[in-house]
């Protein structure tokens, strides 16, 4: 019987055919907890009578939201989580490796066909590896830590077929922002987005992660990129696993089939204060910015930093009066950029380069905005107050648009630089 990728993953992991709409207690292949939502999950695990976690090998722990500790309570959370990891024999990446979603991917903790949960809404990022990955709350995670399983409603899927070739300095972030504008902030609630098509096959893993990452911004439970040779190359380089086919069937019961062509797509910008408030860059070009943030689980990879550096070119400095904050998504990505000379260029041009963490996107650690200030950010949310004052404004865009805007101190079309 024809099935979507989400239906196939749940059917395979449950050992029998399940369909969209079925509610199933499914096994969890990996569970990610971090410094903000992890402590509550651990407490709930105890309240549920949990003594030993179901399988320490399947739990990924790390700290990324408040690192290095920005307050005494944050430091206490880290100590609390370290102690739990030690007691339970969980490998803890601690604050050394970077932003959770990047780390799960680059350490090979996500693979096609797996069911993965994390106490972070952007857990859907691992759909780039062909996994069914979704964000859950701390109480659900307490349940997962104890039982290694969780109730899921198998979601309906929207097929998103993307074709065409991106223009110069236009890419994955522009595509996913344009989709958010089109589908809307709740247009995919409770559903899975299944990405396929020629433009997705041509897209590198960094771009696919950007797309899967922002599925939640349309309300989706998961965003799954149909695995192909690039997926398997990425995954098999990181763990031992035999490749297999995983694709939605052409006659599967998709809720909807959407077709996009990226050939004429302009750089996109999400304007305050909703992610689905999306316009072509030209409509907001000239808007003055006080801060530019290049980083996050959405756009903090080497490819993103390289894209920004290419726009920076040989320019001496970013615009006077603009704070440029660059945060690589992980230690690995940081080193790649460092060795390629990209970090040096950013520092020369006047950027503040911080160690891998969530940075301003966490809205509490540092890099906050004052009332009336404007930020352009490569992250995933521009909600009122997300990066500081509720009277500040956040625009979302690609690394190329961010770099162009940092150069001129105002929102700038990267194709015109």
């Amino acid at each position: 019987m024809a099935a979507t990728i989400a239906e196939k993953i749940f059917s395979q992991r449950c050992g029998r055919t399940v369909r969209a709409g079925d509610v199933v207690m499914a096994p969890v292949d990996a569970a990610m907890i971090h410094d903000i939502t992890g402590p509550l999950a651990v407490r709930v695990f105890g309240e549920m009578g949990g003594e030993r976690v179901y399988d320490p090998e399947r739990i990924v722990m790390l700290f990324d939201h408040q690192v290095p500790a920005d307050s005494i309570p944050a430091a206490e959370n880290h100590v609390f989580m370290r102690r739990f990891a030690e007691e339970q024999g969980i490998h803890n990446y601690d604050l050394l490796e970077g932003v959770c979603h990047q780390v799960v991917m680059e350490k090979g903790r996500a693979a096609p066909g797996e069911i993965i949960v994390g106490t972070d809404s952007h857990t859907c990022t691992y759909g780039a590896a062909g996994a069914f990955a979704t964000g859950i709350g701390s109480t659900d995670m307490g349940f997962v830590l104890k039982f290694g399983a969780l109730y899921f409603r198998v979601p309906e899927s929207i097929l998103v077929e993307v074709n065409g070739t991106f223009g110069r300095r236009v890419g994955a972030k522009d595509l996913i922002l344009s989709l958010a504008g089109d589908i809307g902030a709740d247009g995919a609630t409770y559903m899975a987005l299944e990405f396929t098509g020629g433009a997705m096959r041509e897209m590198n893993m960094a771009g696919r992660m950007t797309c899967a990452n922002m599925a939640i911004e349309m309300g989706a439970k998961a965003g799954i990129v149909r695995p192909d040779a690039a997926t398997w190359d990425y995954v098999t380089a990181r763990r031992e696993i035999e490749p297999f086919d995983l694709a939605g069937d052409p006659d599967a019961a998709y809720r909807e089939r959407r077709h996009y062509d990226v050939t004429d797509l302009a750089p996109q910008v999400a304007v305050p204060h909703n992610v689905d408030n999306v316009v072509d860059v030209g409509e907001v070009a000239g808007t003055k910015v006080d801060q530019v943030f290049i980083g996050s689980c959405t756009n903090g990879r080497y490819e993103d930093l390289a894209e920004a550096a290419e726009v920076l070119g040989t320019a001496d400095a970013f615009a006077t009066g603009v704070r440029v904050i660059v945060i690589p998504a992980s230690r690995t990505e940081y080193l790649k950029a460092l060795r390629a000379g990209i970090i040096e260029r950013f520092v020369e041009a006047g950027a503040l380069v911080e160690a891998p963490c969530c940075g301003p996107c966490m809205g509490g650690a540092f890099g906050l905005l004052a009332p009336g200030e404007v930020s352009l950010s490569t992250s995933n949310r521009n909600f009122r107050g997300r990066q500081g004052s509720t009277q500040a404004s956040v625009y979302l865009a690609s690394p190329a648009t961010a770099a162009a805007s940092a150069l001129y101190g105002e929102i700038t079309d990267p194709r015109e630089v």
Partner: protein
């Protein structure tokens, strides 16, 4: 008991901003609920008040601090035209009852409100408005008093069982 009416797409950053996420105690979180968005809420919300939102209530971050902050403020029921998925589930798990009501446009901020859960309706602004019940397995969690109480009674779960 009054209605606190909000618009569409109320995100969890609005319910509880990121800088308060090291707090886990509901009463302490409640002091910062809707801070910067609607400052009087934390001061004036009373036990039994009802938060009413538009569509996509609770979108954004998976932070369970959001339902906990509302619970700490004395809110036991949230009514909205629709809910974001993670918030909906977190609410059920923590004992905050999320009710879907297609006719929330007829409810005004500050209305006196009463909720008849068994009867499946809310009364506000002199009107009785039907609410949709919590579906399937989530209802069982609500009836047990949240996921912690539900899980306490389980030694193990039967993986791959369906409802």
């Amino acid at each position: 008991m009054r209605v606190w009416k909000f618009g569409d797409d109320i995100d969890t950053d609005a319910i509880i901003p990121g800088r308060f996420l090291t707090i886990y105690d509901p009463a302490e979180l409640a002091k910062h609920a809707f801070e910067g968005t609607r400052d009087e809420f934390a001061k004036e919300a009373r036990e039994g008040d009802v938060v009413v939102g538009g569509s996509n209530f609770g979108c954004g971050s998976s932070r369970e601090h959001a339902p906990l902050a509302l619970l700490g403020a004395g809110v036991r029921i949230v009514v909205a035209k629709s809910f974001a998925r993670i918030f909906y589930r977190n609410a059920v798990n923590t004992g905050l009852l999320p009710l879907v009501c297609p006719r929330i446009d007829e409810i005004r901020d500050g209305d006196a409100v009463s909720v008849d859960i068994a009867g499946g309706c809310i009364e506000a602004n002199g009107k009785r408005l039907a609410v949709e019940p919590v579906p399937g397995f989530l209802k069982r969690i609500v009836d047990t008093g949240g996921l912690v109480a539900y899980a306490k009674n389980l030694d193990e779960v039967e993986t791959c069982s369906t409802e």
